[in-house]
Symmetry: C2
Subunit: 289 residues, 2 copies
Amino acid sequence: MQIAIQGELGSFSHEAALRMANGLEPGNSGSEDIQIVPCFHSPDVFRLVVEGTVDAAVIPIENSLAGPVAEHFDLLLKEEVAIESESQLRIRHNLIGLPSATLARIKRVSSHPVALAQCRRFLESHPEILAVPFYDTAGSVKTVIEKGELSAAAIASRQAADHYGAHILAADIEDNAANFTRFFLVRRADLVRPDREADKVSLAFTVENRPGTLVEALRIFAVEGTNLTKIESRPVQGRPWQYVFYVDYQMATAASADTILAALRRSCSMVKELGRYRSAPMNFDNQTN
Amino acid sequence: MQIAIQGELGSFSHEAALRMANGLEPGNSGSEDIQIVPCFHSPDVFRLVVEGTVDAAVIPIENSLAGPVAEHFDLLLKEEVAIESESQLRIRHNLIGLPSATLARIKRVSSHPVALAQCRRFLESHPEILAVPFYDTAGSVKTVIEKGELSAAAIASRQAADHYGAHILAADIEDNAANFTRFFLVRRADLVRPDREADKVSLAFTVENRPGTLVEALRIFAVEGTNLTKIESRPVQGRPWQYVFYVDYQMATAASADTILAALRRSCSMVKELGRYRSAPMNFDNQTN
């Protein structure tokens, strides 16, 4: 099974992809032969899925502290893909250096800006270490290893340290332990395998640009007694202050989800169901071994 | 009148602040003596307002292409400030160099990543120019002038070129003309001057973590026949998959806004009205002279 991810090998997406493809997450069956295909840009990840070059992609959709990955919402809407399953990873950050490095000698740490921001307390307690933004967490480990500087470190997952043969100098340095990222496994829309235990629906809609239309659409969820768990909005390109709304809700039955979809289609200018899948539990214990 | 902004002098926030303080935007009265106080970090902007060091702050809240400025939503909720007025600036990007620079000799352009992304077509038609991310649009102009390199350029507003005595090498290079940013003028909550012509309300709320509570809150807007114009969500720090919802709606009367506020207070675990203000028209003609 070939799975595309955005970012370098050893990233949190890599870890989520392995867990999902290995059947460690609900709603996923195991696969013996897993190949991860890293891509620099997210549009390429989706393109590989749509073209059929890979079987699936695993993408982060939101972090419980930093919020949504906006570009992935946009791409879920734009591309002919659907969500097959969901997983949640506990994000643990580690200070990672060369195998022979020591914490006392680190002068510079690079990582993705979000990771740096999530380790503020550790960085404040080490004012001798300069934080430098980098494009990717796992990529920062790769670069530390390639450059071979004993004074340089990265912030990334344990998986990244293992992957590049690097050393963890300080573990679990994130400020807030309630740090989770939701991932979706997406396939080409016509290849998604339905999950009979699906209990959650993600969909996107736009409303016509006249007064009251958003409330009218939301009323549909209210009338059906739906448990909305999430609303997100993204701008419509080229139409100032018009939005695509992204909604997650708990599905009572497939029939009720069909009713909601039909009602939205009557009321909204655009509706796309992004997937019906099983809601993932929080994995508090991933990355600990 | 002292107004704090995030970013360097010559930024889009600077321009919005001058337009609002000069009474060029509805709901603002003119001020003779305007002093702009630039801050590197947004939390400092809000701190200066709350401490009373400045009279007001002008902050971007969302761009019609890039979406919300998440940090400013968080700070509006956290700090004891309120929105007094709104304005909308048409964002025009320009390639800016030294007074003696020419477009043909430019090899490198720096700007904020969002500005670079919004000028993709121009950059694609000039493959000889390397794009380099920088922390601030106006700051990139400042740096070009300080370094004095004829091959270096920045992407920023006409205001920034004027402010730093730089030269516009190519005007209006943004991909999409439907590029607007909404700004708020915020004051300390106890110093906000009510606008009797206010027709728009921004508020934030959280709901209890049990099924159906979000739909229950949204039903309040539906029952009142409200014209919701916007819903945004932001994660609650430390409580995975709980959200603060930010809503804008058209206010029928002050009494109806009071009714909605009271109903939300009964239903929600937290409600904060962020401001009642006059909705701003789109300024298609700003920055053209």
